[in-house]
């Protein structure tokens, strides 16, 4: 069943339980085509289970999913690339054979997959390892080979589960470039991570999963706007009447005062500081980072889930 929604993935109310434990509890996602989409969440939040449902590896207990216009994701296996969190390749295979095999799983003729494998290895600086067996590679190199393997059939949608884990800084940077390159060609990229910095640098949109639910899904900017901007103030005077003008949440960090931007803006505050002879050395308004937004959103959701669990137990 094809659709023209402009969405690579649409999921509504996905639920998955394992032996009475609700791993995913009503997840909604809308991933635009061609976007870099991050699924963020703490360990155990339900990210992998959500991705597995989107891939058709497991079926949801309830809910709706539509991947590349099909309600049965398996039907689009040829157009999807997947890099699971637990990396695995056959150790006895040569690198280009491994890439060819992964392509063959997605419907690419083996010979064509191996040809493309050699080409990809050359293009990505691994030409010297074409005839090496997987067991002869370092962990990072093996991960790169697997990454190439999940791209060899030119997928329209690529799903990475914790792609940065286990990679050194250099390889993390390379992977970021690969992801950006894919998006530039119109490929939709979804990746899960609990390292927010990657998502903040690359993602157009994110979904925050906590406790099997999605407390937030949308553009990164909107997530950051969930937290009021922070004002950073440095004054010459340490005490004075001006202190009473600071908002209630103001906290002192070394030479600076930090507090949320008041709803009335900075002008009344500035006036009060000047009149109170605070001696303003610097004042800046800092937008909240995705990390702060994530902690706030996931933390709230965690607290709510904890309360819900406690209430259920008491019943």
């Amino acid at each position: 069943m094809a659709s023209n929604t402009g969405l690579a993935i649409e999921a509504r109310g996905l639920v998955k339980k394992f032996d009475g434990f609700t791993a995913v509890d009503g997840v909604d996602l809308r991933v635009p085509e061609g976007a870099i989409y991050g699924i963020l969440g703490p360990n155990g939040a339900g990210k992998t289970t959500t991705l597995r449902m989107l891939l058709g590896i497991i079926d949801p207990d309830s809910g709706y999913r539509c991947v590349l216009g099909h309600e049965r994701p398996q039907e689009m296996a040829h157009a999807i690339g997947y890099l699971p969190e637990e990396r695995g390749l056959y150790p006895a295979m040569k690198t280009y054979e491994a890439i060819g095999f992964l392509g063959a799983l997605r419907g690419l003729p083996l010979a064509e997959g191996q040809r493309r494998g050699k080409q990809l290895l050359e293009e990505n600086g691994l030409g010297y390892a074409i005839d090496r067996q997987i067991r002869q590679l370092s962990k990072g190199m093996a991960q790169q080979v697997q990454l190439l393997g999940c791209l060899v059939h030119h997928p329209r949608l690529v799903i990475f589960d914790e792609p940065f884990s286990g990679l050194d800084a250099l390889n993390q940077g390379r992977l970021e470039n690969v992801i950006r390159g894919l998006a530039a060609k119109g490929t939709t990229v979804i990746f899960s991570t609990h390292v927010i910095a990657h998502a903040e640098r690359m993602c157009d949109e994110v979904a925050i999963i906590a406790g099997g639910k999605v407390p937030f899904a949308g553009p990164v900017d909107v997530a950051r706007d969930r937290i009021p901007p922070q004002v950073r103030l440095e004054t010459r005077a340490q005490t004075g009447a001006w202190r009473s003008a600071l908002p209630h949440d103001a906290r002192n960090e070394g030479k600076h005062w930090l507090f949320s931007l008041p709803e009335s803006g900075v002008e009344p505050l500035l006036r009060a500081l000047i009149e109170g002879e605070a001696g303003i050395l610097s004042l800046s308004i800092e937008r909240a980072g995705l990390h702060d937004a994530f902690v706030a959103i996931a933390g709230e959701a965690a607290a709510r889930a904890l309360e819900a669990g406690t209430a259920e137990e008491q019943r």
């Binding site: 394992f18 597995r52 637990e86 799983l105 137990e313």
Partner: protein
């Protein structure tokens, strides 16, 4: 990337996906140590043959203890039976059984050669003539062996203290007797069953070790994401089957080479009831079915194990199960037509063994068509069930549990 635009469409069909898996497994296993051990497989019959000896002995004793049938005048028959009864306890089982086939009237004609063709299964030779000049009709080797015992019994019947024994006239037949044919067919059946068992045991072990490796490689999720799990199971099973056929070809070629170079001949065997060509075809089909049945179960059970050690631990009970099935089928063979034999033919895991034995001892063919269809249905069912269980039980992450887990969900490790 300067590459041709992809022209892929849809998911790989089941058999195409299974072929991708089978091709990889086949080439890998063929060049592995497992295959080397598989090639050494024919050495194992020596060991297992000793273990299965008791069953074989039972087969021989229960069904095919050959006898000399008597077709003489009534007084001669009675005298021989009495003499045999008197001598048998002193001969410690060396004396053949005697049975009355016909008490002939004076001058009544009797064709021993014709009678042998329709005689009861235990009749291996027929004694005619008189006590003073008995005629023993039967296969050459058989009557040569029984020449002495019959002379002893006839001499004793003539006179308990006779100084000289009567001379037996031997009348060899060209065809095997019913008893020899039946006995030979039972041996053929047992040999077929043993070969089938050894092959399936070897292969099932290889399937398990292959699965152990798969778990170690952590590649199973990649396979599950790309193709149906049914295809993964099918591919693995058929790869191993193809490997085994290569192995069997190697053994066959070795046998031919030994035969030509050293003059080591294969032991002569009585033709099975359905004839050699059909028996060999049934052997291959039942071997494939037997392996696919046990292999699909091994794969399903093995894939449910969470660790490599679990898979290895499962090897022992699974092998015991195979042994049990083999011995049930061997036992059932000794009681054709009984509830045990019919049950063994219907129970999926023993069915290939029981039906191969039937092919050796009974010429009826429709039962094989029914059995093969039934076994194929069971294979498909087991593969389906195994794949479904795998998706349901294995591809889950996070702990199993209820409220206690919920309470600490935010802080737990590795539960996504």
């Amino acid at each position: 990337m300067d590459m041709t635009a992809p022209t892929l469409k849809g998911r790989l069909p089941l058999w195409a996906a299974a072929f991708v898996i089978a091709r990889r497994d086949f080439t890998y296993i063929l060049f592995s140590r497992s295959f080397f051990f598989f090639l050494l497989g024919p050495l194992f019959p020596l060991v297992v043959g000793v273990l299965a000896g008791s069953v074989g002995h039972k087969v021989e004793n229960a069904e095919t203890r050959p006898a000399i049938a008597l077709a003489m005048s009534a007084p001669d028959v009675d005298a021989l039976m009495a003499a045999n009864q008197a001598l048998a306890p002193q001969m410690n089982g060396a004396m053949p059984d005697f049975m009355v086939l016909k008490r002939l009237k004076t001058g009544e004609p009797f064709n021993a050669t014709e009678a042998l063709k329709s005689a009861p299964t235990e009749v291996a030779a027929i004694a005619t003539g008189t006590l003073a000049a008995p005629i023993l009709t039967g296969p050459q080797q058989r009557i040569e062996n029984w020449n002495g015992p019959l002379a002893l019994v006839a001499g004793h019947a003539l006179h308990p203290n006779a100084a000289a024994l009567p001379r037996i006239m031997l009348a060899p037949t060209k065809q095997a007797t019913t008893a020899d044919r039946h006995r030979g067919q039972m041996i053929t059946a047992q040999a077929g069953q043993t070969l089938l068992f050894l092959l399936t045991m070897l292969l099932a072990g290889m399937v398990l070790s292959n699965l152990v490796e798969e778990k170690g490689n952590k590649i199973i999720e990649i396979l599950a994401a790309a193709i149906p799990m049914d295809a993964v199971f099918l591919g693995k099973l058929f790869a191993m089957l193809a490997v085994s056929l290569v192995g069997i070809t190697c053994w066959g070629l070795t046998a031919v080479v030994l035969n030509l170079a050293l003059g080591i001949a294969m032991p002569a065997m009585i033709a099975p009831a359905v004839g050699w060509p059909l028996f060999i075809i049934f052997g291959v089909v039942y071997f494939a079915m037997g392996y696919l049945l046990i292999g699909s179960v091994f794969l399903a059970i093995g894939s449910l194990a969470t660790t490599v050690r679990d898979v290895q631990t499962l090897n022992m009970p699974a092998t015991m199960l195979q042994l049990l099935v083999f011995f049930i089928a061997s036992f059932a063979m000794t009681q054709p037509g009984s509830a045990v034999e019919i049950g063994a033919a219907i129970f999926p895991f023993s069915s290939p063994f029981a039906m191969l034995a039937r092919a050796a001892t009974s010429p009826v063919l429709w039962t094989h068509a029914a059995a093969i269809a039934w076994q194929a249905i069971c294979v498909a069912l087991f593969i389906r069930m195994g794949a479904a269980m795998f998706r349901k039980r294995v591809m889950k992450s996070g702990p199993a549990g209820g409220k206690k887990v919920k309470r600490r969900w935010f802080g737990r490790e590795k539960t996504q």
